[in-house]
Amino acid sequence: MGAWKLEWIRMWRTKRIVAVVATFVLLGLAGPIALHYLPELIKAGSKNGAPVPVLPKVQPVQGIANLGSNISSIGSLIVAIVTASTLGLDSNRSIAAFYRSRVRNPVALIMPRMASSAAIAIAALALGALGAWYETEVLLGHVPLAPLAAGFLFESLWLCLVVGVTAFYASVLRSVAGAAGASVATLLVTALLSAVPHLSPWLPTRLSGSLSMLIGQPAGDIWKAVLVAAVVTLAAVAVSIRLFAQREPGA
């Protein structure tokens, strides 16, 4: 058994794959359903005699946008937790000794863990997006697939960034909770920085929730954020591999 097969077994036996995929699919299916039945829910919930607010007609793109919005928060958090726990190699001294004394190449040691985390996040996003697209088609109206596919690529890059940033913190902190927490905090701070007009076009947080961004509108200047996200992700992966290689066993 090699390191890649180990990660496949880890994802199934620890139910990580189930947690990530179930969350994304549930978010994908629930969004269009909630939007479709929202007027009826409001009507049913209003008291006798109280005026019922008239909601604007729901656009099909909102069914997809809903998933993108949830991925920015819940989805990113789950991906950060799964990545931190998968890369929590040194949180247990004895287990770390088993792997580190047998695998000297840090890339061979770390890359399967990072790649499996990213692959599961992207696969879960694909299934969630498919679920959201199907429900939207049935309940809200037509959504073209080509811009959705392009949005999927941007959203995938965002999830890769989450994995990369979490990997960086996992290489600095031995605690799984610490790495996941620091990663989410960093992404939140980046989101807050988007309030600064000059910084906003360059911030990779623009890719968060980008699943529906291209549906019915041009890409605009998203390429700056794509460039920064790609560079930061690659840099975070490279630095984390280097830091993992240099780390010695804990006390």
């Binding site: 058994m1 090699g2 390191a3 097969k5 180990l6 077994i9 880890r10 036996r13 620890t14 247990n92 001294r93 004895s94 287990i95 000794a97 088993f98 792997y99 580190r100 004394s101 047998r102 695998v103 000297r104 010695e248 066993p249």
Partner: protein, 304 residues
């Protein structure tokens, strides 16, 4: 085949110096026992040898025995969701080997885990984890096996089996084993390093060490024991014979090699009905206490 050697290994943790110029010489094919009191730097030294830590200064020349180094940490643990057989396959796989089912079953049987191949490691006792730890190392067919307290969590029978197993590797595999149990070291090791406060107080063959301080053997026979005592006292390799109780003698020897060959002959010549014989407790222990400046006497002095 060249053995392993370290030159002036130093390891500092902040202001604490865990190793102070360690010069190990481990001959190829030997079973090398690294002993020392708690905090003497044994685990740090082993972790440097296997590449888990970098020395602050000094170097490690693993020679030809370093082509396949496998480490058995103390207090072993494995991912709890892996079965014992999967741990074995993973251990080999990470080092580039692909053992068949028979090889996996054989190595588990070798450490007494043949009935636990399909059980998950998360449910193993500490003793079972120690056995699995050794099996995971043996499947890699190491040229150098570095084992940190490999039998620490085992009951006496399990301890005996594992130490015996390590002893059988002599000649084919170079083994460095750290242990707190001096009896284990005396039983299987042919070379010994005594580590104290980060540097070696002694390094050489076990035989030389025992000869340096003299060796004692305890002999227990059924009565009448007087002829046995007389025969032992007359042997050329015996320094003294002390009564320790009915039919029990502490035989201090001047030449351990001659004693190993001569004792059965002497006992047979006087028709002794042997109950028990073996190294007297404290033979290696006394030297250890003397070299490391530890032991009950010192503790009592320090406490006074």
């Amino acid at each position: 085949m060249n053995g392993l050697a370290t030159r002036g290994l130093v390891k500092r943790y902040g202001t604490t110096e865990a190793l102070r110029g360690l010069d190990l010489e481990v001959p190829a094919g030997s079973i090398y026992g690294l002993v020392g009191p708690n905090g003497s730097g044994k685990t740090t030294a082993l972790e440097i040898l296997v590449g888990l830590r970098r020395p602050t200064a000094g170097s490690v020349d693993a020679g030809e025995v370093g082509s396949r180094i496998v480490y058995c940490p103390d207090a072993p643990e494995f991912d709890s969701w892996l079965t014992a057989a999967e741990v074995i396959r993973l251990s080999a796989g990470l080092m580039g080997a692909r053992p068949g089912r028979e090889a996996v079953e054989a190595v588990l049987a070798r450490v007494g885990l043949e009935n636990a191949a399909g059980r998950k490691a998360g449910g193993f006792s500490r003793g079972m984890l120690s056995r699995l730890n050794l099996a995971a190392a043996l499947i890699c067919e190491p040229t150098l096996l570095v084992a940190d307290e490999p039998a620490a969590a085992l009951d006496p029978a399990g301890r005996w089996e594992i130490i015996e197993l390590l002893g059988k590797l002599a000649g084919s595999t170079t083994v460095i084993v750290s242990s707190h149990d001096l009896h284990d070291v005396q039983r299987v090791c042919d070379h010994v390093g005594i580590l104290t406060r980060g540097s070696l107080a002694y390094q050489g063959t076990l035989r030389e060490l025992l000869e340096r301080a003299g060796t004692a053997i305890r002999v227990v026979v059924r009565e009448p024991s007087a002829p046995v005592k007389a025969a032992l006292a007359a042997a050329s390799w015996v320094r003294s014979v002390q009564d320790e109780g009915p039919g029990t003698f502490l035989v201090e020897v001047s030449d351990p090699g001659a004693a190993e060959e001569g004792l059965p002959v002497v006992l047979a010549s006087c028709g002794a009905r042997l109950v028990e014989t073996g190294p007297a407790e404290g033979s290696l222990q006394d030297i250890f206490f003397q070299l490391t400046g530890t032991g009950p006497a010192r503790s009592a002095e320090e406490g006074a």
